[in-house]
Symmetry: none
Subunit: 230 residues, 2 copies
Amino acid sequence: METNPRILLVEDDKNLGYILSEYLAMKGFSVTWAKDGPEALTLLQKNPYSLCILDVMLPSMDGFSVAEQIAASTVQVPYIFLTAKNLKIDKLKGFKLGCDDYIVKPVDEEELVARIKAVLKRTDNTLQQDPQQLLSLGRSTFHFHTQVLHIAGTDHKLTSKESEVLMLLLNHKNSLLDRETALKKIWGSNDYFNRRSMDVIISRLRKHLSDDGHVKITNIHGRGYMLQES
Amino acid sequence: METNPRILLVEDDKNLGYILSEYLAMKGFSVTWAKDGPEALTLLQKNPYSLCILDVMLPSMDGFSVAEQIAASTVQVPYIFLTAKNLKIDKLKGFKLGCDDYIVKPVDEEELVARIKAVLKRTDNTLQQDPQQLLSLGRSTFHFHTQVLHIAGTDHKLTSKESEVLMLLLNHKNSLLDRETALKKIWGSNDYFNRRSMDVIISRLRKHLSDDGHVKITNIHGRGYMLQES
DNA sequence: TTTATCGCTTAACCAAAGGTTAAAAGTGTT
DNA sequence: AACACTTTTAACCTTTGGTTAAGCGATAAA
């Protein structure tokens, strides 16, 4: 059941892209090579990746923008920026966007691999997305990409919105998921109707989860929700 | 309200050590500065740290050895290497030893902070977003983030206002919390009605805390309140 | 000791937040 | 265009929690 970490490489330069994807594949990674930003985002929606390597200089949509889109979505994937520009301001911008490392070209392949591993070491067990088993105790698992919640021997097929909310709750397991944050991430804005929609989704999730006695969603009045595992 | 991430800086160079510890402290970290490896290891045994910054070139025991000792011990702390040597072989050695980042001198302080945060973001999930256990003796803990006061085996769910007041009291533990200060902080202004509201909240907090014989809120006439721990 | 102020507690009130269910509107598929 | 399914809107009801009110006790100054 051991699978290779899946890496999404976003690089428009044909030569560098080829070299890197070959090298990473040789080092035991499962590499997908996207040539531009939009392609990368589509792939990220459809498939799970453990890590994303983003070239900053890309045609049409630069790496920073791609990162922003990733951060704004519910898909959580660590990313490393790759760039020829050794400008401090860009570096800081990269980190501000939440990147996990920032590497300046020319790339030393061995160092790149070492840094990828360092990031994966930290993320793999804490963050989801690539491993499929998500949910908690007893007989429950949740598979984000198929949107199937498996409890006590039965499968619950969740809707997209249900899955997104559950995913966020899982990412904040046993701690508060701020209501406003969740709304901004999933619905894009925090208004009356979206709040009510979220209430409805929560209600439905509770119904699904009711078969698992070890998990429950509690409300913290005026703040948000918490998924509690016991 | 939140507590600062605790950083252990291991650096023998007096100048650099001073500059970095001052800078990091200014940036909101709680910094401890160890001058050599053995000192660092002793500190790590005795105190919790969120992250360790290791200079590679140290007297008596180099940073790599310190890292090996850390990895071999039960103490798990992420570490970043700091070195003047930009040798690829050293970098790879560092990552092989499990470091989370490897920074070459001269250090850009802003980049250092960005990289520290990037590491903490991944590793310190609990200490990072959850301000930790706060309350005092016997069996009491208070978790601000989830607003739960845990006393003698039972959970008391506090309201937002109760939590805010308790938090302020805890921040002034065993010393006076000025009434006017508290009112301005929590209610925005000190008027008759807000004072009455605060009275009610204090009363409710006392009821919650009554199960813990070692903590009580006392009034200092005309001044404010004090949370006394015994 | 008197008196004015300050503090404590309980209860009541009420607006806001949340829970649930159902109907309506939106979406995609055959 | 009929369908199955998802999401939003609506409606109705319950819970929550901050505030206000009122009465009494405590404290300190005169």
